[in-house]
Amino acid sequence: MGKSMECNMKVRVISADSRPVEGNVFVDIFRYRALIKNLVMRDLRLKYRDALLGFVWSLVLPLFTILVYYVAFDIILKIGFPNFIVFLVVGLLSWNFFAASAMSSTTAIVGNSSLMRKIAFPWEVLPISYVFFHLIQFVVAMVVFFPVMLVLSSIRPAWEMLFLIPLLSMHVLFTIGVALALSVAATLWRDFRHLTEMLLPLLFWMTPIVYPWERAPAPVQTFFHVNPLAAYAIAYQDILFRGHLPTPVVSWTMMVWTVVSMLAGYALFRRYYTRLVEEL
């Protein structure tokens, strides 16, 4: 057969177990960064379109939740402590980022079937774009609330707060891993969506977000050592509220779980990649 294919251009082979587009997941995702950005912008534009307050709703809603817990715990139950509201801001905003990302990742693939059926692109982009969508709202809320809280409370800026940047980066990676895994799982078994919705509140109360971890009974405290979300909540509180760096135990828990979640998310995606479109 005349000239064959090995000239200057790249040859791609598609077979039963290949990946669409180029091959390396990191290269693919970087190449499609414009898509991630456009999907995030689309969702931000659409979310509060026509609402009078627009993006301000992204701030009002968490603020209101924070106030609800403040009234319930500090004013009614009187179990608050100095600077309780700062404690709530730190814990609730970071939890919201994770929980909202996890929840929306369960529809990341099922809800975008119209795109996936017609264009081949690295499908990991879909859950990842939802994580960034919630990340932006988290960061904006922190940037707006935290300085105000610093002024109103007796907490002073400290150099430990700079640790927020690596902490947030790791938190994002952890959440991306969970989102990748959940998006695939919820496509193959639709129950996962409802299961996630059901388990998130349980996980919320099993994580020291609206109460300090020291107040929990000893067996629950042991659970905090293996619960990645507890580790993240405690780390945010350590840096921004207690004013010290996270303890080695907390840091290790976060790191190990972040690696586990990234590997699991990647492996699950890789394993079922070629089946995803057929399962829609």
Binding site: G2, K3, I14, S15, S18, P20, R117, K118, I119, A120
Partner: protein, 257 residues
């Protein structure tokens, strides 16, 4: 014989058809109790042992009745679906235009949709910036650039979508029935654009039921019937064979499913 752009070797694609699909636990339980709700699976072979070689610069028309596997074949080449058996070799970049305006959102403006749509094909912001003027010139919709596309007429919507699509600079273009766009004048413009793309050395695979468009645009054609390649050659020969099969008495024709 030039360079091979697309090479399919023994490609088969089977789908699992799931009747009474039991996605949820509830349906599984019902299925266990009552036979009527039980999920049963059936293997459907959409494509069987396809061997097809397309050379660089060819425009190949894919024809065949509904359900003969044309779209499945296109999706396999696009990398949306994956073959059950066999291998597809592609030389160069591929753009699949299986539907126009994929990802277009009615609430976004024309400009926003152009950027979203092209990023779905892997274009960076800067690459889209470079194509932007040409896209709007081609679409003749410049005045509506910042209007949400929900306010576009159907024809305008399609014109914009087609304009974006034909400006992607890929080596291999996969087109599925996307020619019927806009009024007659714009349709002619689209056909001319496609001819120009073919003449510029791009490899095009083109699925259509319009024999006129096929005869005009393609230098080769391939007839799919019940998931197999029934004929391959010049468009005139393949179209003749297709008409023969369509009008033949049913018992003379291989069953479609």
């Amino acid at each position: 014989m030039g360079t091979i752009a697309i090479d399919l070797r023994g490609v088969s694609k089977a789908f699992v058809l799931r009747h009474n699909r039991a996605d949820t636990l509830k349906l599984r339980v019902f299925g266990f109790v009552n036979q009527r709700y039980r999920e049963h699976r059936q293997l459907f072979e959409a494509l069987r042992d396809i061997n097809l070689t397309v050379y660089e610069g060819d425009t190949v028309g894919l024809i065949g009745p509904n359900g003969s596997g044309k779209s499945t074949l296109l999706r396999l080449i696009a990398g949306i679906l994956f073959p059950t058996r066999g291998e597809i070799r592609l030389r160069g970049s591929v753009v699949s235009l299986i539907e126009l305006g994929v990802g277009f959102h009615p609430e976004l403006t024309g400009r926003e949709n152009v950027y979203l749509n092209s990023s779905l094909y892997g274009l960076s912001r800067r690459e889209t910036d470079r194509l932007f003027e040409a896209i709007w010139d081609f679409s003749e919709l410049r005045d509506f650039m910042d209007v949400p596309v929900k306010n576009y007429s159907t024809g305008m919507y399609c014109r914009l979508a087609f304009s974006v699509a034909v400006h992607f600079d890929a080596d291999i273009l996969l087109l599925d029935e996307v020619l019927a766009v806009g009024d007659e004048r714009f349709q002619r413009k689209c056909l001319e654009r496609m001819q120009a793309l073919g003449a510029s050395g791009k490899t095009i695979i083109f699925v259509s039921h319009s024999m006129d468009a096929l005869a005009l645009l393609c230098n080769r054609a391939c007839l799919l019937w019940a998931g197999r390649v029934m004929a391959e050659g010049t468009p005139a020969d393949v179209i003749a064979r297709y008409r023969e099969l369509l009008h033949a008495p049913p018992e003379m024709v291989p069953a479609l499913t």
